[in-house]
């Protein structure tokens, strides 16, 4: 039997497979390149980048939770100049799709980043309007339609690369945000970023995280992410990249059935650095076992109950 086609085309960019490393979990790829070749991945969404370098929040920056974790890294990154000079050359050689995840305090920060990245070998830009761990920018842009539309509109004007907008689950209605950014020219949406959570150390009585609260990721949030992906995929015509708790290949299949054309995997990599490779192989096997030729045979093919609440 011929192998099924697990490649996917998102806004004109071809990914060899639908499994992408989620921003912030994979750095700039160097570390995990010691364990496997990065071209095994469909793509890498790089650590959130800002114009100027950022130091991020003080430690502790992580806490474990049932089937999940909290983080408040706070967009630590060396800034675009350092990135272009010291990291991009390495990444270019990896033969995988490179997605720049960008963040800013102001719309002009975002535009500046998009403009400069447009002149580079980056394949796509992911507009992060959903980081819960920084006071300015981040999620502030992602929770109401007007701001989300506004930043997308401006960035679109400066961005010559395919533009993905990464959505926040904190929005009252994530599908409305998705529609708003689609209307402003986003080429795709990715969702979800983390949910805001907290843990308290009952010995010290202090929050475990330096920032008091942080972003909840991992398997715990999968059902919420899946629901949002499904809702969103039915409302927009642009591709939807699903993420949030994808840990096993079965989770990825659920996301694809719900309408995601690709998945991002973050937290699962911490427990198992090979999680993404296993997910990719599991997707391929599922297609083979069900005699499907390509991902098109499953993307969005969930059969909902017409009388269901959603």
């Amino acid at each position: 039997m011929t192998k099924p086609d697990i490649s996917v085309n998102i806004a004109g960019v071809k990914l060899n497979n639908p499994v992408i490393a989620a921003s912030g979990s994979f750095g700039y790829g160097r570390e995990y390149a010691k364990l496997f070749e990065l071209k095994e991945l469909g793509g890498i969404s790089l650590k959130g980048m800002t114009l100027e370098g950022r130091n991020g929040n003080p430690p502790p920056r992580v806490a474990e939770t049932p089937s999940g974790m909290l983080n408040c890294v706070g967009l630590q990154n060396p800034g675009i100049d350092y990135f272009l000079e010291n990291e991009l050359p390495f990444l270019k050689k990896q033969e995988t799709v490179l997605i720049s995840n960008i963040a800013g305090n102001t719309i002009s920060d975002y535009c500046g980043l998009a403009e400069r990245l447009s002149e580079t070998d980056i394949d796509m830009i992911e507009l992060n309007i959903s980081c819960p761990n920084v006071k300015k920018g981040g999620a502030a842009f992602g929770t109401d339609c007007e701001s989300a539309a506004g930043v997308t509109r401006e960035v679109r004007r400066h961005c010559k690369k395919p533009l993905i907008v990464k959505l926040s689950p904190a929005a009252a209605d994530i599908t409305a945000i998705a529609q708003a950014v689609e209307a402003e020219g986003a080429d795709a949406v990715s969702l979800i970023n983390t949910l805001l959570g907290m843990r308290i150390d009952i010995k010290s009585r202090r929050p475990v995280l330096s920032n008091n609260a942080g972003g909840l990721s991992g398997a715990a949030i999968f059902p919420v992410a899946l629901r949002m992906v499904w809702q969103t995929a039915r409302r927009v015509k642009i591709p939807v990249i699903g993420m949030g708790g994808v840990t096993k290949w079965q989770d990825a299949i659920e996301m694809l059935l719900a309408g995601a054309c690709a998945v991002q995997v973050g937290t699962a990599t911490f427990g198992d650095p090979y999680a993404m490779i296993k997910i990719r192989d599991g997707i391929e096997n599922y297609l083979i076992e069900n005699n499907y030729e390509s991902l098109c045979d499953i993307v969005g093919k969930v059969i909902p109950n017409p009388n269901g609440i959603l």
Binding site: Y32, V62, F270
Partner: protein, 254 residues
């Protein structure tokens, strides 16, 4: 760096809640150095648990881990028995930069910070002085192991039930003031490390500290395990798993 399924070869309960295990992991051993750590996958937990490499047996392809039950993950690990397999990611981080092992060196360990220094003390043989602090007599671990490696060992306990009564800092100052010392290696509670660093700094003695921080990836990708250091005149967050766990004490912003 590799992910390896490792069989537990031996297991001892060496103090209340403290376990001493040897695991077979030839691939990890092939790269492992004193001062590095491995990251243990604990079933049903999202995050791995970092444990320092306490000793390395190159011939047998085994490493030794000494750990204390501190919570759910270490509790899970402590329930594993000889013959069980555990999934380790490692070796991680940078080992100790040992320098010249024919010069005298002092190893200052506090509590569960004692094991991570053991392998580093080995090559120093009789040039090593180990000053090891514990809560109480019943918590003393690895004394014979340090002595076996040739080190002269001073034990301190908080309650005076074994060795000297009080903190490790007093014997450390005495030792540094009495005899020459090329370098100090320290691992233990942050307050202890800070005090040790200050003592060394005052005397112009090189000091390396092994730091702890909460981790997610363990490899340098997620930027969780931040540790503030002075770098090119600025204060920056470096990462314990990648840039450490061993840092030159001078660079740390305490």
């Amino acid at each position: 760096m590799t992910v390896e399924d490792c069989v537990i070869i031996s297991k001892k309960n060496i103090a209340k809640g403290v376990f001493d295990i040897w695991v077979k992991c030839p691939q990890i051993v092939a790269e492992a150095k004193a001062g590095q750590f491995i990251d243990v996958k604990c079933d049903n937990f999202t995050l791995r648990r970092p444990i320092s490499i306490c000793d390395i047996d190159n011939k047998k392809g085994q490493i030794r881990l000494v750990f204390e039950i501190r919570g759910e993950g270490t509790d899970w690990l402590a329930a594993k028995n000889v013959g069980d397999c555990i999934d380790l990611l490692g070796p991680l981080g940078n080992g100790f930069f040992l320098g010249k092992t024919d010069k005298p060196a002092v190893f200052v360990g506090g509590g569960i910070g004692v094991p991570p220094l053991l392998a580093a003390s080995k090559p120093f043989g009789a040039n090593a002085t180990a000053i090891l602090g514990f809560r109480s007599a019943c918590a003393v671990i690895l004394k014979e192991d340090y002595e076996h490696n040739g080190a002269s060992v001073t034990i301190c306990t908080d309650d005076g039930t074994a060795g000297r009564h009080g903190l490790v800092t007093v014997p450390l100052e005495e030792r540094l003031d009495a005899q020459e010392c090329a370098v100090v290696f320290a691992c233990g509670p942050k307050q202890m490390l800070k005090a040790v660093a200050r003592i060394c700094d005052k005397r112009g003695v090189m000091c390396f500290v092994s730091m702890e921080e909460r981790m997610a990836c363990g490899v340098g990708a997620c930027l969780s395990c931040a540790c503030k250091v002075k770098y090119e005149g600025e204060e920056k967050y470096f990462h314990v798993c990648k840039n450490g766990p061993v840092f030159n004490a001078k660079t740390i912003v305490w």
